[in-house]
């Protein structure tokens, strides 16, 4: 039977049926999602993987231009400056601690006067400008202005800040002197001046016994001068070399582009022209050997400067007092004392390192990868050298997530257990929608609530003297890891709550019945049967909450403080009250400003890939737990 006269069987379907169309519609939807996901991954990889060769070249330039050589000296110089700053802070903390009462009295009096000045500034300035500007003062208008000023003065005086360290009489005298103050007067009220003078006198009194320390510190400060001068001098030289190399790189790139274009040129004439252009582009070959030789001539000077610095600093540990009476000063002193041995050891090794440094040691690709994964600095857009080290961002993200989880797990899982196991119907009907409602708050709104309310309130609370024992208090930065963690906890509670509640709900009723029939009480059934049976589901809920926390951007960008630095763990738990930056935040903040295709741009893509991998890993693990929890 030939094909043409093949008659379809009467059962066989004919044409493009509606059923097929519907099927196709849904299949294409599913297919589209998969295609888009694959495209996203491909795009991320394409943009991101170019980062490592680019970064390798930057690190190579860093070496061959001599920046690395200068940094060998500079790192010691920076350490010296930091140490010097810590010691000076300890010195002033000691003095200010000793005259704390004078300081507070002076500050409080000044605060009262400042509060008054701010509030009455508008009406005050109007009178003054009318009197000053040579405009014939209209007496009627002036009277009105004075009246207004008097009113605003009364109002301002009614709401002055508290002054717990001033006596009642002093406060009254201060307010009196403000109230009777001449409009034209530029002097501070007598009490403010007097207290400031008292404070200055107290400072001087307390500084006297510390004169020895002051001398040691001044000597220590001065010891770095030589090295500092040398470093600035070399900095100028190597920066010029680096710029020349970078310009050369641009020309080289032009040339390869032109040659590539020539290979595809349509006419021989066009090809000739392109090749000629390529030739001229090549003409200026960057000279790196000359500047490098000049730099290497400084080696002995660098080594000598280090030796001098080492000698000058050698006695520093002995020059420091055994202990300081003020706790803050003592803490800083301890920090400095702990840092000094490492600083001295580095100084000792410096001459050897400087002597052995060579500009032509190759920079392998693994160095770029290693520097990215374990680098402690993320420095971009600087005039010196860009570093793309992921650690500060990763640590920030992880610490924020840790805070968030520590708060969200008890709250979310606890609420889920209560609602599922113990709550009455009425309670269920109230609690569930309320918790789920949190999800409806846009994260940017949550972010500014976090800044304005939560951050400020927390910082104000931390200022109370009675809370000084809490590690990390008083908080210096309003925006910090803890604040961000709290808000993220709030954001992830609905996720954890809903999924954990589902997990508890999915535990078959037969388990509870069996447990009851064996004589278990309500609580025993919940804690010995239901919750263990839902455990993997609850774990999955927590992991999905974690995925949400790590991937969240807006809140951390607004609230985490965005300081790109690994928090200082020397203050223990207080590290959580320091500002930080995150993997997500850095992408959101910097991607809009980087030149397309630059190394920095690609670095952000690699951060994105890393983030993607982390969240994917978390979700995959969660998925595994979910499938295990099916009953």
């Amino acid at each position: 039977m030939s094909k043409t006269d093949e008659v379809p069987h009467r059962f066989s379907k004919q044409g493009f049926s509606l059923e097929k169309a519907i099927r196709f519609f849904f299949a294409s939807n599913a297919g589209l999602t998969i295609v888009i996901l694959v495209l996203i991954i491909a795009f991320l990889l394409k943009e991101g993987l170019g980062f490592f060769p680019g970064y390798r070249r930057e690190l190579e330039v860093y070496r061959i231009a001599g920046l690395e050589f200068v940094d060998l000296s500079r790192s010691n110089l920076t350490a010296h400056e930091q140490l010097s700053s810590v010691l000076n802070r300890a010195y002033f903390a000691q003095i200010n601690g000793l005259c704390a009462s004078e300081l507070k009295r002076s500050q409080e009096a000044a605060a009262v006067f400042n509060a008054y000045s701010e509030r009455s500034a508008a009406t005050h300035d109007l009178i003054v400008s009318n009197l000053d500007a040579g405009i014939a003062p209209d007496s009627e208008m002036l009277a009105t202005l004075r009246q207004n000023h008097a009113a605003s003065t009364r109002k301002a005086l009614a709401e002055l800040p508290a002054t717990p360290h001033l006596t009642r009489a002093e406060r009254a005298a201060l307010i009196q002197s403000i109230a009777t103050r001449e409009v034209s007067s530029k002097d501070d009220p007598p009490l403010v001046t007097a207290l400031a003078a008292q404070y200055a006198a107290a400072q001087q009194t307390h500084a006297e016994p510390l004169a020895g320390l002051r001398g040691t510190l001044d000597a220590f400060d001065a010891a770095g001068t030589d090295l500092s001068a040398l470093v600035s001098e070399m900095t100028v030289a190597v920066t010029a070399t680096k710029e020349a190399i970078q310009a050369g790189d641009v020309l080289e790139k032009n040339r390869t582009t032109l040659v590539a274009a020539a290979a595809h040129a349509k006419t021989p004439a066009a090809r000739e022209k392109l090749l000629a252009d390529a030739q001229t582009s090549l003409a200026a070959k960057t000279d790196i050997d000359g500047p490098m030789q000049a730099l290497m001539l400084r080696k002995p000077a660098c080594i000598a400067a280090h030796a001098d610095l080492r000698q000058a600093c050698a006695g520093i540990l002995d020059g420091l007092p055994a202990a300081l009476s003020q706790p803050e000063a003592e803490r800083l002193l301890r920090v400095a004392r702990k840092a000094i041995p490492a600083f001295m050891a580095n100084l000792e090794q410096a001459p050897q390192r400087i002597g052995q440094w060579r500009h032509d040691t190759p920079v392998p690709l693994t160095a770029a990868i290693g520097s990215f994964l374990t680098g402690k600095d993320w420095v971009t857009g600087g005039e010196w050298q860009d570093f793309y080290g992921i650690l500060p961002l990763l640590v920030g993200s992880l610490m924020i997530s840790l805070v968030a989880l520590c708060l969200a797990i008890p709250a979310g899982v606890g609420a889920a257990i209560y609602v599922n196991q113990f709550a009455s119907r009425l309670e269920q009907a109230v609690i569930k929608p309320v918790i789920e409602f949190i999800q409806a708050i846009p994260s940017v709104v949550l972010g500014f609530i976090g800044i304005l309310v939560f951050g400020s309130v927390l910082r104000d609370i931390s200022q109370f003297d009675s809370l000084a024992w809490v590690p990390g208090f008083p908080i210096e930065e309003r925006l910090n890891i803890f604040t961000a963690g709290c808000l993220l906890a709030l954001m992830s509670i609905p996720t954890i709550f809903t999924l954990a509640e589902d997990a508890l709900n999915n535990v078959p009723a037969a388990y509870a019945e069996a447990s009851d029939a064996l004589g278990a009480s309500r609580i025993q059934t919940s804690f010995r049967v239901i919750i263990p049976a839902a455990f993997s589901g609850i774990l999955a809920a927590v992991l999905l909450g974690l995925g949400r926390v790590i991937g969240e951007t807006m809140v951390v960008l607004l609230v985490a403080g965005n300081r790109i630095k690994i928090p200082d763990f020397s203050s223990g738990i207080g590290a959580f009250l320091q500002p930080s930056h995150t993997l997500t935040g850095i992408i959101a903040q910097e991607l809009g400003e980087v030149p397309l295709g630059s190394v920095h741009y690609r670095a952000l893509f690699v951060v994105g890939i890393l983030l993607f991998a982390i969240v994917l890993g978390i979700n995959a693990t969660a998925h595994k737990f979910v499938s295990r929890s099916r009953h």
Partner: protein
């Protein structure tokens, strides 16, 4: 109905006395005026068509019906060893430890075999290893499961076969050494061989326990039960020694049911 029947030939001490029991879900009556004395150390089967209330009656005996909102006893009483179990001062947990229950669908906890068996001991705060081990072994022996699982006591209970799981549930129920064992169609989800094993087990168990079993299978009732109660529409129709009930039913409804003309 039942009341005018002659009493069993040799009166046995009743473990459970159900008197005039009426039971309702919300306003819907499920049991009406059930009066029944279940003899100790015997197996009593409850049979009847679906929805006749036999499971409800069984679940009244350990008050597991309390779990269902709106379910309550409207009249009558249940005495176990002479104590009214619906008195407000009854310790429900203690009652359920004395009256074990095995459900239609085996429901071991997602824990190890061992932890399933010692569950009720742990509830009473017993954590001494030797005591737990001894109880686990005794209970598993009694449930004829020991030989099959003794080498894998600490593996997941849900990895057992259906019949093994059901016997594990029996072991779990008898670990707290109850007096009475309630079984709600324990073999409904099992294959014939597993069913046979459970039935053999019942014969062993009745030496120690008073057993009440709800079953859909009249064959099972004839094989295992010493006494059988036939129920329909929430009422007890007839309660007599099993052979008598099946061979010479007094009531026409019973006759119709046991001969298969309805139900």
């Amino acid at each position: 109905m039942v009341t005018d029947l002659p009493p069993p030939a040799a009166p046995l001490p009743a473990a459970i006395r159900i008197a005039d029991l009426c039971f309702a879900y919300h306003a819907k009556p499920a049991l009406q005026q059930i009066t029944l004395d279940l003899p100790a150390h015997q197996i009593t089967a409850l049979i009847g068509p679906s929805g006749c209330g036999k499971s409800t009656l069984l679940r009244c005996i350990n008050r597991i019906n309390d779990r269902i909102p709106g379910a309550r006893i409207t009249a009558g009483s249940i005495h176990i060893h002479g104590i009214d179990i619906n008195r407000p001062d009854i310790d429900l947990q203690e009652l359920r430890r004395r009256v074990g229950m095995v459900f239609q669908k085996s429901n071991p906890f997602p824990k190890s075999i061992y932890e399933n068996v010692v569950f009720s001991l742990r509830l009473s705060g017993i954590h001494k290893r030797s005591e737990l081990d001894a109880t686990a072994e005794t209970a598993l022996h009694a449930a004829a499961l020991w030989d099959e699982v003794k080498d894998r006591l600490h593996t997941r209970a849900l990895g057992l076969s259906g019949g093994q799981q059901q016997r594990l549930c029996i072991a779990r129920a008898i670990a707290s050494q109850p007096d009475i064992l309630l079984m709600d169609e324990p073999c409904a989800a099992l294959d014939p061989i597993a069913t046979l094993k459970i039935e053999e087990l019942l014969h062993q168990l009745k030496k120690q326990y008073t057993i009440v079993i709800v079953t859909h299978s009249m064959a099972q009732a004839t094989r295992c039960a010493d006494h059988t109660a036939f129920m329909d529409l929430g009422r007890l129709i007839e309660f007599r020694p099993t052979l008598q009930l099946f061979n010479t039913p007094h009531h026409p409804q019973t006759l119709a049911y046991v001969t298969g003309s309805f139900g």
